[in-house]
Symmetry: C2
Subunit: 386 residues, 2 copies
């Protein structure tokens, strides 16, 4: 008897900052800039007083930074601010919780903020965060973990190193065109496979950089969306799931993605073949390949064909990561999911500039997250439509 | 045009563990115990498979512990798990977000978990968490901060040290009767005022202990509550607000509580005089006094009268903190708000044993939280009814 979120929430504004190594900006500086950017891009304008509640996704800050940090950055006091943390899926789940509050009718206008200052942490956020993990404290770092997935995938399906590299080539090409991306250069298959290994089979260009960034969305009840824009974007589906590799599995899929996708597609009443453009979690090249299959875009072992046939290229049938993805745009944990949604909001409105894909109507956003015990322990999927 | 949460969510089960210095239990051990306790106390029983989503409030753990930690502790995999962090109001806001998802109709049955292993952190969680703060890194620790509030309050209103101590005397009396409380002993006004000062005017018995604990609630759509119980408890109102002392103020009130209370009372359609029993945030004795006034139970400066006249005693007109409050029950940050709600669920159903108050119909729960810049920077209030 549950109700879906289908078309019960609209996005009416979105903005982000140029991702990068932003040593000169505080977390609050980044949020302020993304927030002002988002406000300024609401078609009919918006009074900040209209914002009734906020959700703030960030992984790193210690307790209590949440509400106040956001309030100081935006000038929004007195309203409710909830911090969400869900590993690398933090931004996605922040959006999801805000959507449910709007769908419940408790708020008509809500702010969704994702931000992460990865460079504020000595030694690197990801490195530090891992030391308490069961495996990672023993040397199985993020690249090592995903390297295991890479080796298993290549071995099981006879996929070559060069085929995996195609993800990096595509995403760096897109990132070179996307003004908000952290890394804006192209690379060839040769560049990728000859680069220094970080953890076999993953080389330097197979790994996302350490990036600072912030992104903001403004969401509303669809009934009042026309106060702000005549071309809102609708939330069609949403899914989140938790899983553990400790339950088994052969490292060539992330079941949490599969569960989350099932929820989102059911809500949306859509099939994977109906997606026109997607932002897929590519913290490492191999992650995008595996996720094609978990999301139903390719049968197991057939992910590389989407790249070889150009289906996921910027001018393909279903472009994936036109923004450059995590590999080129960067992966500031709390900001990542929100930034993916900002990008898809622009795509669906035909505002994506140099990376605009042709007339997309349905878009999919996807994150996975590392849990205490395993990679891919969290999966989150959203489906948006015009 | 927003809709209230009023009577759109029911609590059908709740449980917690005995709070204390639980060096022998992991975070997951504590969650498992509270979860099994909550399941076992659902009147008509519940199949764990009925639980469609979970919210997990915890402050301390590093990223990614959330979903998987909860799944491993409960055996609930595949479902969505969202971690909420909102400083000392973490448990309250976790409940609030779960309620909105149920009110949205996206889930019919949801799990709300709050847990904190304060003793897992060398040096103490609160101590460590503060080092990055603007003021606290300079020696203004939690007791020092609330001591400032105490001094300001006593000075402004001519309140004596002995009057402040009445909070501790009351709450320790209640805690001595409550089986789940961490500290189960009584103390006199003399004990309180003669105890070693932690930060003037706050002595040892004016400060909550460092406590480990976990608490769990099971909430549902009211339409299906009768599958689980014939005596559910309804959510009547909910409010959350953010504030900053940096905006001014004289330290004798927490505006975030006032804003949150306004939201909650408006939703509930009730006045403060209609509350029969309350769990109020008493991290320090002074906090409870100030909160009486922020919540509308007393006029500014008149908080001590509620204690002197016995109004807030266990057998008074509106008992406050029958569980012993944070001062005696303890304050495991993420668990605190959820445990307060578990206690009020029991009170409203007449199941609170030695601390049962007489036939309460309306209950109020309240937390404040420390932000990066100030005490009382987050306030959260819920109102429950039979």
């Amino acid at each position: 008897m549950t109700q879906s979120l289908h078309k019960r929430v609209t996005i009416v504004g979105g903005g982000m900052i140029k991702f990068g190594e932003l040593y000169e900006k505080s977390l609050e500086d980044m949020i302020e800039e993304a927030y002002l950017n988002a406000l300024s891009r609401v078609d009919k304008g918006i009074d900040p007083k209209d914002i009734q509640a906020a959700w703030y996704g960030t992984v790193y800050p210690e307790m209590g930074n949440s509400g106040l940090g956001l309030s100081h950055a935006t000038g929004l006091f007195d309203i409710p601010v909830t911090r969400i943390e869900n590993a690398c899926a933090t931004g996605s789940d922040t959006f999801r919780n805000a959507c449910m509050a709007v769908a419940a009718g408790v708020y008509d206008v809500a702010l969704v903020v994702g931000a992460e200052k990865m460079h504020d942490d000595p030694g690197g956020l990801i490195q530090r965060a891992d030391l308490k993990r069961l495996w990672m404290g023993r040397g199985v770092t993020m690249p090592a973990f995903f390297g295991l997935h890479g080796t298993a995938y290549m071995h099981k399906y006879g996929v070559t190193r060069e085929q995996v590299a195609l993800v990096s080539v595509k995403n760096h090409h897109n990132g070179s065109l996307y003004p908000y991306a952290h890394l804006r250069f192209e690379c060839s298959v040769e560049d990728v496979v000859k680069a220094a290994y970080v953890s076999y089979p993953l080389g330097l260009y197979d790994c996302c950089p350490v990036t600072d960034g912030a992104a903001v969305l403004i969401i509303t009840n669809p009934k009042i969306a026309n106060r702000y824009t005549d071309t809102p974007v609708y939330v069609l589906g949403s899914g989140l799931a938790t899983d553990s590799d400790l339950r088994g599995g052969d490292l060539t899929s992330f079941p949490a993605t599969q569960f989350a996708a099932k929820q989102a597609f059911e809500m949306a009443g859509l099939k994977s073949s109906e997606i026109d453009v997607a932002e897929i979690h590519d913290c490492f090249s191999i992650t995008e390949l595996v996720s094609y299959e978990d999301l139903g875009f390719a049968k197991p072992g057939h992910g590389p064909e989407l790249l070889e046939e150009g289906i996921v290229s910027l001018d393909g049938k279903m472009p994936v990561n036109p923004s450059g993805g995590l590999l080129a745009k960067g992966h500031p944990l709390g900001a990542t999911g929100v930034a993916q949604l900002v990008e898809l909001y622009e795509q669906l409105r035909g505002e994506a500039g140099a990376v605009q894909v042709k007339n997309p109507e349905i878009a999919l956003q996807h994150n996975i997250g590392i849990g205490r015990y395993a990679t891919g322990s969290v999966g989150c999927v959203h489906i948006l439509g015009r």
